[in-house]
Amino acid sequence: MSEMIDKIECLGRKTHETVWRIGHFVCFFYQSLMYHDKKFFSQFKYSLVQQGTHSLGLIVLSAAFIGMVLALQGYVILARFGAEQALGQLIAMSMIRELGPVMCSLFFIGRSCSTITAELALMRITMQIDSLEVIGVNPLARLIAPRLWAVLFVAPLLISVFISVAILGGSLVSISVLGVDYGAFWSNIATTVHFYDDIVKSLLKGLIFFFNAVAVAIYQGYFVAPQVEAVAKATTRTVVLSSALTLALDYILTSFTVN
């Protein structure tokens, strides 16, 4: 009987802790978005470079190869039904609707979010965040708000670049290597892709993934435990947690979009 009570007590404690953490997470980001200080724009520019420019190389390289591989794999399947000319449509739709936002945010998590977590965690452990506070600078306004606002600008740009490069990579292999007709490839894309239903929804979905990833990265870094191995743990947790959340959110958002 007492074992049962212990289990119920443990469950209650865990639930309380989880609810508290979610509430704390939401309040923290709500407060952060409300603050800005006189150095906002210099920090905002720094965040744009940190999140955008630093991820760009990886995004372009991986998008090109994903597009090219998709062309090769898609061609094999479509050729069975004599529908090779629809290869452009296949590449564009899969990139815009699904692979673009998801893959791009996964690469972004690996490249930029891990950096954000490590940077903030090191600042916390070396007491630089405490230093800011006692100098009279609000760390939420100086460190958090610019990073959150920057991702809102970076996300649509990176996703657009990712999708465009992937389609270009796919077109290169389809037209030059596999012999798909140039006109058929591009006209199929033009007729099937819709601006609002496909492109706008894709960018919105990506924006949610990116914002969620940066929020997790900031939270893990800012509230890191003062321990030796804490930075490594926080960085790993950022990558694992935000990747898992991206995939879960993708399912939820896709199910709404499809319905």
Partner: protein, 267 residues
């Protein structure tokens, strides 16, 4: 009536259900070097964090620079912090800024001085701590003692009313320690800065402190002059000053079981 910069009235602070500090009442007068001393875990750093408003008391009333510190103060605390300096145990310099930029940082944040004036003020502060020559260095190029002196220059950059020192002598070689002792005393005498230092280095601290507050198990066991502190007959103070292994702070951590019971459990 004595004017006070900091006043504690029946202040208590607890974590979970355990009191870290209980019923603390004290006053800090302006222009005085006050040392907060006590063994590890006695609540010194907690007391310091309560003084600067980085922690909120569970009970009692804390007044800092005529402003009551409570949960309603919100972002107003940043206005208060602009009037103080804080020296952390780890120096806590900004790694991506040079020594000069570190010292200029608070000046740039809180004044409208042109950059050249900010540099002049920062160089003067670095001169005061003897590190003008290191202005272009990055923190990682300096020794631990030098980093702490740069942090001290940054702490006094805006000519604060109070400077808080958290374990300033911890991990320092005798020369660096001597330099820090001299600087703290010099800033107190020349600039009239009120200094509050948390430390357990008895010799160095008592050499410069005017007043000592001694904590033991979350309570004040001594509050008086440094002169009286070394003559105090309280067993806790005697154990601390004479560095005795056993006394009110036990050598053996209290346990619910005897050693025999514990060994049987292991078996």
């Amino acid at each position: 009536m004595t004017m006070s910069l900091i006043k504690f009235e029946q202040v208590s602070f607890k974590r979970s259900d355990r009191y870290i500090l209980k019923d603390i009442s004290l006053t800090i007068e302006p222009g005085v070097i006050t040392a907060i001393m006590g063994a590890s875990g006695s609540g010194k750093s907690t007391l310091l964090n309560l003084m600067v408003g980085r922690l909120t008391a569970d009970n009692g009333r804390i007044t800092l620079l005529d402003q009551e510190l409570n949960s309603r103060i919100g972002s107003g605390i940043y206005q208060l912090w602009r009037r103080m300096g804080f020296l952390f145990q780890s120096a806590a310099l900004f790694n991506d800024l040079t020594v000069l930029e570190n010292v200029m940082f608070p000046i740039d944040e809180h004044t409208t001085l042109p950059e050249i004036m900010q540099e002049i003020v920062a160089i003067m502060k670095l001169e005061a701590v003897g590190l003008r020559a290191a202005a272009s260095y990055y923190p990682h190029q300096l020794s631990g003692g030098m980093q702490r002196r740069v942090a001290l220059a940054r702490a006094i950059a805006l000519d604060p009313e109070i400077v808080f020192y958290d374990e300033p002598f911890a991990g320092q070689d005798p020369i660096s320690m001597g330099v820090l002792v001299r600087l703290i005393k010099q800033f107190n005498q020349d600039l009239g800065i009120t200094s509050i230092l948390v430390s357990h280095d008895v010799g160095e601290t008592l050499a410069i402190a005017d007043k000592v507050i001694f904590l033991h198990e979350g309570k004040i066991r001594f509050d008086g002059t440094a002169h009286d502190f070394v003559r105090c007959q309280d067993p806790g103070v005697v154990q601390f000053v004479q560095a005795l292994a056993d006394g009110p702070v036990k050598f053996n951590m209290p346990s619910a079981h005897t050693i025999g019971e514990q060994l049987i459990c292991l078996k």
